[in-house]
C-alpha cells in the first residue's frame, strides 16, 4: 500500500514534470507559414515603421538621419524584472540577423523563439506581432535584409533569479500570450485596419495596458493606462473616457505630436510619433477610429 502510494506520487511527479516541460517548450509557427507569400521590401518599410522596430533597435546615441536605420541595438529598458538590452538586428551575419532564415526571423518576431529554440523575454512585443499577417511579415523580412550591417555585439540582459530561467518563459507564454483580438464583433474595414495597427503592429497595448504581477497584460483594462515600465510616471489612458479627444484630435497628434492643448508628446511617445507621422494619412485615421470606438 505504502509502496503503491509512493509509486503514485512518483508517477504524478514524473507526469507533472513532463507536463511542465511540455508546457514550457517552444511552439514555433508551422513550416509552411510563409510558403504562400512573397516578400516585397518597399511594402516592408511601411510594416517596419508601423511596428516601430527602429524605436528600440537603433543605437541609443543614434541621431535621426535621412538614411536607412542602423539596427545595432544597445538601448536598455529597466523593468521590475531586470534590465533588458535591445539586440543587434542589423544584417551583420555574426552579430545581427544576416545569417538567419526567413522562418527563423518570423518565429522570433511572432513567437518569441530564437533560432536555437530559446524563449525571448516579452520586452520584445512578439505577443502583439503574433497577430500580424504572413504577407506583412514576409515584406518586413525582405525590407530588413536591405538594411546596413553593423558589427556591434548584442549585450546580455541583466535579469536576476528566477526570471533568468528562460525555460520558464514558456509557462509565461502559455499563461499570457493570447493571439485573439481584443476588439471583437463586426468591424468595418477602417476599424479592422485600426485594430490591426493598434493591437498587432503598433503594439500600443504593451505600454498603455496595465500588467499583473507576472507581467501579463490585463486585457480587461485594455489601453486604460499603466505604470511606466521604463521609469516613474504613468502611461496615459487612451480609452475615450480617459483621453477625451476627438478622432481629428488623435489624427493631428499622431501626425504632429501636438496635443489638443498644444503641449507636445513626451517620453517614449516621441519615438512613436516619429513613426506614426510617416504612416499614410488613412492609417492615422484608422487608429483614431479604433481608439474612439473602444469601450
Amino acid at each position: 500500500m505504502r509502496l503503491g502510494a509512493l509509486k503514485t506520487v512518483a508517477a504524478l511527479a514524473v507526469t507533472g514534470a513532463a507536463a511542465g516541460w511540455w508546457l514550457t517548450a517552444s511552439d514555433p509557427l508551422p513550416d509552411d507559414h510563409l510558403s504562400a507569400v512573397v516578400g516585397d521590401a518597399a511594402a516592408g518599410e511601411q510594416v517596419f515603421i508601423a511596428a516601430g522596430c527602429a524605436s528600440c533597435h537603433t543605437a541609443p546615441e543614434a541621431e535621426d538621419s535621412e538614411g536607412p536605420p542602423i539596427l545595432a541595438g544597445g538601448q536598455h529598458f529597466e523593468t521590475d524584472f531586470g534590465t533588458f538590452f535591445a539586440p543587434n538586428i542589423s544584417t551583420d551575419p555574426v552579430h545581427g540577423i544576416g545569417a538567419w532564415s526567413d522562418m527563423e526571423l518570423v518565429n522570433a518576431i511572432q513567437r518569441g523563439i530564437s533560432p536555437e529554440g530559446a524563449h525571448y523575454y516579452p520586452a520584445f512585443p512578439y505577443t502583439s506581432y503574433t497577430r500580424a499577417t504572413a504577407q506583412d511579415m514576409a515584406d518586413l523580412v525582405a525590407y530588413m535584409r536591405t538594411l546596413p550591417a553593423d558589427a556591434t555585439p548584442s549585450q546580455p540582459h541583466e535579469v536576476g533569479f528566477p526570471f533568468n530561467i528562460r525555460r520558464s518563459l514558456g509557462g509565461w507564454k502559455w499563461l499570457f500570450a493570447d493571439d485573439d483580438w481584443v476588439m471583437t464583433g463586426d468591424l468595418d474595414p477602417q476599424l479592422e485596419r485600426g485594430r490591426y495597427l493598434v493591437e498587432a503592429l503598433g503594439h500600443c497595448g504593451e505600454c498603455h495596458t496595465p500588467r499583473n504581477a507576472l507581467g501579463g497584460l490585463d486585457r480587461g483594462n485594455w489601453l486604460a493606462g499603466a505604470e511606466n515600465p521604463d521609469g516613474d510616471g504613468r502611461i496615459p489612458d487612451v480609452t475615450p473616457d480617459g483621453l477625451g479627444w476627438s478622432a481629428p484630435d488623435i489624427v493631428a497628434y499622431l501626425e504632429s505630436g501636438f496635443t489638443p492643448e498644444f503641449d507636445t508628446a513626451g517620453g517614449s511617445m516621441v519615438a512613436v510619433i516619429k513613426n506614426t507621422s510617416r504612416l499614410p494619412a488613412e492609417d492615422r485615421a484608422a487608429i483614431a477610429a479604433y481608439l474612439t470606438a473602444l469601450p
Binding site: 521609469g231 504613468r234 493631428a252 498644444f262 507636445t264
Partner: protein, 157 residues
C-alpha cells in the same frame, strides 16, 4: 485636541488644508521656480496654439496674429531661465515633472534649448509669410519641444 480637529476641519473645508500641508515641506524658492517655468511653458503652449490652430486650418490664417505669436515664442525661447531650474526641483517635488536627468545632462539640455531658439527663429521668419510657410515651420518647432520632453519630462496621464 478637539480644537486641533476643529482647526483642521476648517482648513480642509476652506481648501486651505491640502495646499498648506503639501507646500509646507517644499522650499519656497523651489516651489516658486517650478511655478515660473510651468507658466513659461504655458505661454509657449498658448502661442503655439494660435499657430497650430491656423496650421490645422481650424482658425483662419491671419498674418499679423501669426507673426505676433511667433515673435512671442522666439522671445520666450531666448529668455534667461537659469533661476527656473534649481537643482532639486525634479520629480521628487510634488507637482514637478522635471526628471533628475536634466541636471545630469546639462550640456545636452542646453544644446536642445539652442535647437529650440533656432526653430523659433525659423518660425518667426515664416509665420507672417503665408499659411504654407507657417505649416512648413511648425513641425520643426514641435520637434524642438518634443526633443526635450522625450528625455527629460516624466510621463504622465
Amino acid at each position: 485636541m478637539k480644537r486641533l480637529a476643529t482647526v483642521l476641519t476648517v482648513f480642509s473645508l476652506t481648501g486651505l488644508g491640502s495646499t498648506a500641508l503639501a507646500e509646507s515641506h517644499v522650499d519656497p524658492a523651489i516651489a516658486g521656480a517650478i511655478k515660473a517655468r510651468q507658466a513659461h511653458m504655458q505661454l509657449y503652449a498658448h502661442n503655439i496654439g494660435v499657430l497650430g490652430g491656423m496650421a490645422r486650418e481650424r482658425i483662419p490664417y491671419d498674418a499679423e496674429a501669426a507673426q505676433a505669436a511667433a515673435s512671442n515664442i522666439a522671445a520666450l525661447s531666448t529668455l534667461n531661465q537659469s533661476t527656473y531650474w534649481p537643482e532639486g526641483s525634479d520629480t521628487s517635488v510634488e507637482g514637478s515633472r522635471a526628471l533628475a536627468a536634466i541636471w545630469e545632462n546639462l550640456d545636452d539640455v542646453m544644446s536642445k534649448s539652442e535647437d529650440l531658439v533656432m526653430a523659433a527663429a525659423v518660425m518667426e521668419d515664416a509665420a507672417g509669410q503665408g499659411l504654407g510657410a507657417l505649416q512648413g515651420a511648425i513641425g520643426g518647432l514641435g520637434g524642438a519641444c518634443g526633443a526635450c520632453h522625450e528625455d527629460y519630462r516624466q510621463s504622465d496621464d
